[in-house]
Amino acid sequence: MRPDPASPTQWTALLLIGAAAILLLYNTLPVALAYPRAGTTALVLFSLFALPFWWLRRRLADRLALPAAAPALGLLWGATVAVMTSLFGSRALHGLLATMWGPAWAERWSPVLAAPVVEEVVKAAGVVLVVAIAWGRVHGVLDGIVLGAFCGVGFQIVEGYAFAMSSTVVNRAGDVVEPVIAVFIVRGVLAGLWSHAVFTAIVGAGVAYAATRKTARSVWIAAGSLAGVIALHALWNSPLLRDGLGLGVLGVLAGVMIKGLPAVLIVWWLVRWAKREEAPVARSAETA
């Protein structure tokens, strides 16, 4: 993955990430300056999301061929292009839904019908772009899972930070850290595992499968993984089981598990399948 001034994919990544990063800073910096304590706390807490995935990458190192720059680029894409595009796209789709079916209906169903489509498609586009940049270096599905997870975790860090800062602003109680910690517990601890990183890891697996198998069937599998992830994301955002069926905190926690666990189990199964079916990178190099 060396810089290549003649590579259209590298230029696309550079221009889109650069433009989105400027927009992101323009949108987030004023709030961070107005609430420095809350902003620093949110940045530190939500950046912790990257640690388990960094650990995962180290654990799977002997089966990964993608250079470290690939997941780093995926993370940057998720944190900038995916976040900003989703912000504009989801808001506009919300407006279209409100025009068609009314404001109250749109407010309830936009997170189910609009946000999952925009967010998952744009993150998947980032995975495709990085795979194209690192063409020939993708060894198997595990490379895609790790790349997708990093793209998703980049999105998750910025989204979590934005939610925490929005909560601080909405709270209107000064530069305090309590709203940030409350958001971190809900979005980081309770909902952190089965969020963007896991969804995009599934898409990453599909894209890597298509990139290594190079058959029409594998392309359909990649498209199916994206469709499946959009459905899982919509289920997660849906009001279904949000009230815990009236069973209190335990009911709400059970609802979170029922809605979030399928995506985690799919990634767990994909990792096991890939470890069983795909040879370690070093062994394949020896036999080659």
């Binding site: 696309t12 107005a34 407006g95 839904l97």
Partner: protein
């Protein structure tokens, strides 16, 4: 990967991003024209507001569950947010609104201003931006707060009067 394939992927990815970042927002603007909501009543977290004549809005900008609504009065945008419970007074809330306004690039606070909702006195701050002017009003009644932020490229006195008339419709009776 060949240059042609690389170019194809680059175009496809850029097209996806631009479709969501520019295409759909432009489509939304084209097919979701502003509508006159004069005479209509909006309820935000128990606070009601009946829009005076010739107040307009885009359909997606009324979010009752989030307690937000955005109106268009002439060329000015008027953003209203209602939430609760809130344990501070209107002056503190106005200072908090000013804190964020001051951090925005090109925004400078000018004078405090009077703000009055239906039977509730608020606290206000005026400001100028690089492209226009605006003001913020803060109201706290019992433990419910309402924030109004008005911005426009040219806030002439007629438009300001119309915005004040809109704010005067904010009723905390049912909150």
């Amino acid at each position: 990967m060949s240059r042609t394939r690389s170019l194809t992927v680059a175009i496809a990815v850029a097209a996806v991003v631009l479709a969501f970042a520019l295409g759909i927002p432009l489509l939304n603007k084209a097919v979701s024209p502003t509508v006159d909501v004069g005479g209509e009543t909006f309820t935000l977290q128990g606070v009601t507001l009946t829009a005076p004549a010739a107040v307009r809005m885009r359909p997606g900008y009324y979010q009752p569950e989030s307690g937000r609504v955005e109106f268009l009065v002439g060329d000015a945008e008027v953003d209203i947010v209602v939430a609760g419970p809130y344990g501070f007074d209107a002056e503190y809330l106005a200072d908090e609104m000013a804190r964020l306004l001051e951090a925005q690039p090109g925004v400078h606070l000018t004078d405090p201003r009077d703000c009055a909702a239906d039977g509730v006195q608020g606290a206000g701050r005026s400001f100028v931006t690089e492209t226009g002017a605006g003001f913020a009003c803060a109201f706290v009644h019992d433990d419910v707060r309402a924030e109004v932020t008005a911005t426009g490229s040219s806030l002439d006195s007629a438009t300001v009067d119309r915005i004040d008339a809109l704010i005067a419709q904010l009723s905390f009776e049912a909150a």
